[in-house]
Subunit: 295 residues, 4 copies
């Protein structure tokens, strides 16, 4: 496990790019375990390579050399971006929750079972309701309430202050990924922009249907026959971020809003967990407000 | 087959209603084959009974007597509405199409196979492209083009004139149900109101997402991971009618709009056929812009 | 909640049965909240009524009177069986587990969230691995290992002894339902027969495919494109019991057995929870090795 | 379209293989449109490349040169097998049917709509029932009945004689693919072996459940809650061939065998069409009784 990495490239499609890429990996003693590639209609090139570099020449795990040669190639072929993630350095995922617990339970049980290869340095909530769950799994829980009263009722300032504390925790614990596991707060645009493409939110509807509040109530009102959930990267524009995973469940006239909420929970937790998993394995490439998911 | 009927009731829930209903059926020698009942949160009562009346007293198929006694009971319990449909009198379904053929093929093949218990007196189109399909199944095809040029370019008048011709055909052939099998025209409000609750439309998206034009293009643009189709009763408000059936299919970044259209076709035809089937079997009760579907 | 019950009937279809049933309920001041009925091809009648008896005559909750009048009617119409369950008396569900934890976690979290209306008096396991989970939810955990060594290596006697202890706990805690949440032991025929129709097992395949051991390994071996799970009532014949719920998930050649196990977990827990829910709400009627599920 | 091809490789995984492959394509002026690769647990390498060779050096479409250089590389890396298929040379698909028509209708409508990029030189049936459908689409229909009476009642000889006629038609029309669209005959082992990996059969159950005859009857008998269909390559061992596509549909106790047949039709036709599409696009690689499907 410790001698593997995933490398990703996004950029304009160029002849010979793949040949050079695979040559480079072969040349420096890396073995390609899997390769996924996609060229969009508008000529953008997306590549993910899973690499075993245990045979890296000189035997040593010479990351710097490897990365600089990749950098050179990326520059030569004018890639827009590339990145590398080593299995030896698992992601550090911070979780944001409010009072709803099913997604938190689900993530922590999967993590405890080794389904999610990451570390969870902290759980943050604006309420204390779910602290007992964090405690059961021995994960640090931080209560960061909104306190407009401390700012003369100014909610914007209160949110800014609270988010500043979140930033401090992210910094301190070196979190590189955030999961909003039914975190009922809308993050500020500034925060979203800072954490674009590594903050995963679960919305309890089949986007773009029922963006915003109370989707199940509106689903009942409209009389739809399916409900859904959408895991997407959070962006300043609410519920407009790049979609990673979506799924649905059938409902009928017999289902009350309460039934929809119950049935929806199963869709939400599975969609969120699958999206996080894809993210942790560097399978999600974001471009132009959409995702390429190499599953 | 010839001695069965389905009877439906909608109205405020009343104590003893079911008891009286079942008593009535028993009393006049009818055998209840199946019974479905639903009471909504706001106290509305929905009932569908499937009845074998071969044992109807006096042995004779005395429809009038039967219906008047049901009418009395419905009045006694202040039902909002009730109706009866006899298997011996299959629905007469008129089909509206434009140039897209997959739903038409599907309906006609199912009909030929006896999957859809109805008669299809006519197929109407504003184009002649699909006439050859109607001919293959020996179903009368009527070409009713939009002819604004005949009305000094006035499209509203042209539509009114064309819809008048549709009404004439409906009248002449005694059609009680209309199916818009990807009929790309928006029907006038007046027409929709006249044919409310017996005109089924198939929309090629998961409503309320992507109402209106080019849903697959917008689905691609948004980057959704599922596409869908919705069969609903047509109403004056475009794509806002009571939903009967919805289904979805997974898509990925690899799917072009053309792929989505192709994959969507399978969802559309199955959703439309299932919705029509429910309608033909009197399984769909409409109330307050939503449906109760007793499947 | 406290003044509702569900009553179920199974027997040969008889004219006037429904009329008498609904009359009876009406007559004794009960209000029918919902009614589901089904007559099989071979003329068996299945009925479930959900009843509000707060208006029961004399105002009193006169269960005995109610039940005797139902008994009379059932006898009159020669029903094979009927039963009644009062919401005021929730089911008492004992859980059997071994070492695999995902179904146990799922049931306990749902129970804690009020999704499963029942009491869980005990969790039994032949191992101690999952005791810590029971502890977290404050549910008594009993470790009942198989101890062939105490019986000169006789496994049958060891199983009999262990099952006797299970019986004692069932007796003592008044459990009326058992859930085998991935309990890896095969129960004796005698035990299964004693607890037929109230012991729910989850099998990790789409039955009748891959009955018995290691279904995921065999699924990989066969190269299927879907995996599944089946929640059914346990019977002496392994994996042959009446099926309550089945569901599937797509897999591809890329999925290793380990991936299938992971993906299968989500199907297993949802199928088991849904089946238990149906059982708790008296929605499952068993006849001739199959179920009628009024969902 | 005319200047594209797909090339596939199967063999033991070898270091540098991908690098050499991509180099080769780049070297001879080919542009890699997409690349899919998979290495199985037991070290087998599966590769599919979609190539634009309009820029093939010397500008000429020099297939021979291209193929020989691929052959050399395949030999150098000891590939078990490789093949190439040019979009300019669409597959020629012969269809086998009996009396059941839904899959035939579906394939012909899709073909007419350009959904299936192939030619259909002939339709063969042991009955004449479906000739009228072939006629509607102007596709030659050949009636090849089983005639044991001509062989003193010897069914084996009769089948051999009929299959010989099929072989003659395959030969004459240069068919490279066969589709058994609910062809109710069991092909001889010899025939299956000759046409392994290019004869697609649709079985109306979720294999390995309900192999053989009357799967829907047995599904009803067992009381399953889902029915399915499996598209697979035909092999001498009935219903044991490599699976390409599987799908399911929910059923309940209310569904009679006839209902299951009806619902199953929609699953069958979509599964068969998808499998054929994958086959036509060279997306299916067969190894060790299983398939790798690069969708």
């Amino acid at each position: 496990m410790s001698k593997k990495f995933a490398v990703r490239f996004i950029g304009p499609d160029r002849k010979g790019l793949m040949a050079s890429l695979t040559q480079l990996m072969f040349g420096c003693g890396c073995n390609i375990l899997s390769s996924a590639q996609y060229v969009s209609d508008d000529g953008m090139f997306f590549q993910r390579l899973s690499i075993d570099f245990s045979g890296l020449f000189s035997g040593a795990d010479n990351r710097a050399a490897l990365e600089s040669s990749i950098e050179n190639l990326a520059r030569q072929f004018e890639m827009d971006s590339w990145d590398i993630s080593y299995n030896a350095d698992p992601h550090r995922v911070g979780i944001l929750v409010s009072k709803i617990d099913h997604c938190l339970w689900d993530l922590l049980v999967r993590h405890a079972n080794g389904e999610l290869k990451c570390e969870i340095p902290f759980i943050i909530s604006n309420h204390t309701d779910l602290k007992y769950i964090a405690d059961q799994f021995g994960i640090p829980f931080f209560h960061l309430p909104m306190e407009p009263e401390k700012f003369g009722g100014d909610k914007v300032k209160a949110k800014a202050a609270q988010e500043a504390k979140i930033e401090t925790l992210i910094e301190k614990h070196g979190a590189d990924t955030l999961v909003m596991a039914r975190y009922m707060q809308v993050l500020s645009d500034a925060f979203c922009d800072r954490h674009a493409s590594h903050t995963i939110n679960i919305h309890h509807s089949f986007l773009p249907a029922f963006e915003g509040a109370k989707p199940y109530h509106r689903a009942k009102e409209r009389g739809v026959k399916l409900i859904g959930a959408t895991a997407h990267y959070a962006t300043a524009k609410l519920d407009m971020g790049p979609i990673i995973v979506q799924d649905v469940a059938p409902v009928s006239h017999r289902d009350t809003v309460k039934d929809m909420v119950r049935k929806g929970k199963d869709v939400e937790r599975v969609a969120l967990a699958r999206a996080l998993r894809y993210h942790l394995e560097s399978r999600v490439l974001v471009h132009d407000g959409r995702t390429v998911v190499f599953d």
